[in-house]
Symmetry: C2
Subunit: 209 residues, 2 copies
DNA sequence: TAGATTGTTAATCGATTAACAATC
DNA sequence: TAGATTGTTAATCGATTAACAATC
């Protein structure tokens, strides 16, 4: 029932719904849009509309069966598909992401990490050994990798990006504070820490009101 | 000239402008809104409007003097104010943030890190020694800390949040995948990795078109 | 049946973009 | 002066919210 269009804003909220539902699945066999909205601090109509666009399993008066809703969200978000991903840049941030065990909940599996620096190659993080850049093409090919994570310093980000694209990656998660140029058809999602920081700083400057 | 209202979307773009301007300050003494828009892949009218809301130093035909614009953005974003911040949770992600040297560009200084686990207390990251939670109040008081960063696992996030608020923190940067309950006047900025991941996954599922 | 909850259609709100006037 | 660029006012677009109809 995923024929309805889902806006990008809705798409970003879906994982939040899923996370909350998973955390209450044992305690609450059924939930309503209002409960979900209250828990996440959102408008209930918005939640209902979001859920309706990917599920359609809601029943008037009854609400939603928690497990059904979880299944629908997982299916829509492709949590079962386990997209293989590679990570370039095994510095502190890269290692943090490699060690983070929460990604598998959403179908992401980092199959290998790479670094240009010989001093980092061979070290391990999150149970994976960091490989030299020369191995990137081989891994992407053999594992059909289409998702790349960039955690190198800003200066090397475009280079890392080009290498990924060259080896067939079509979705890039960029943690470097730079804008990347990519060919049409490749999606870049920038994780922008400076933007978040600006929102917080402004709140403080304005007196925390 | 910061009397104009700045939308949250504009606020999030300002650090991106600042970052790019700093990277070209030596090469380009003057820039136009169109140049900035092209570099960042944005609409030029949007850039002009954004800049106009915090600067007003643009000159028809001339464009902007790079250094003037940088100064205006820095002043608006409070980059000179150096807000002291504390971080709770010195795991991989916490250590990555502690070691990241890019925050000072935007006026953030992490003055201390804390962790509830005795095995982590006493270790260092980014040149700072991790302190026990008992020291949190003292540090917040003596350094007038109003910004807190939460990098603990989801289960401990609300607890960390409450402790921060108790000690006068009014702006919280939450990296844990949970929604936090805070009193009125306290701002929470959620860094939502699962949301970004959803956007990328959907792109792959839809065929990367 | 009556009440609660979903889901849809319409109204509002805010942000982006387009058209135009101002000016160095 | 003429041209380029800013900055503003109006139009469009998209997302959120409100009102209402559908239904178990």
């Amino acid at each position: 029932m995923s024929s309805k269009t889902v806006s990008i804003q809705t798409l970003r909220r879906l994982p939040l719904y899923l996370h909350w539902l998973r955390s209450v699945r044992d305690a609450l066999p059924g939930i309503s849009a209002t409960m979900l909205a209250d828990a996440l601090g959102l408008n209930d109509v918005q939640v209902r509309k979001d859920l309706g666009s990917v599920s359609g399993s809601g029943r008037p008066k009854k609400g939603y069966v928690t497990e059904e809703l979880i299944a629908d969200l997982e299916a829509y978000l492709g949590c079962d598909s386990h997209s293989p991903a590679v990570l370039i840049g095994a510095g502190n941030l890269g290692r943090a992401l490699l060690s983070y065990d929460g990604f598998s909940d959403y179908g992401l599996e980092i199959v290998a990490a790479f670094d240009a620096s010989p001093s980092v190659v061979g070290t391990t993080a999150g149970g994976k050994t960091v490989l030299p850049m020369e191995k990137l093409g081989e891994v992407c090919r053999s594992r059909s990798v289409r998702l790349g994570i960039i955690t190198v310093p800003a200066a090397g980000a475009q280079n890392a990006c080009d290498t990924l694209v060259e080896h067939g990656v079509t979705a890039i998660w960029n943690f470097a504070p730079t804008t990347l140029k990519v060919p049409h058809g490749v999606l870049v999602e920038n994780e922008n820490l400076a933007s978040s920081l600006a929102v917080l700083s402004k709140h403080l400057i304005d007196g925390g009101a």
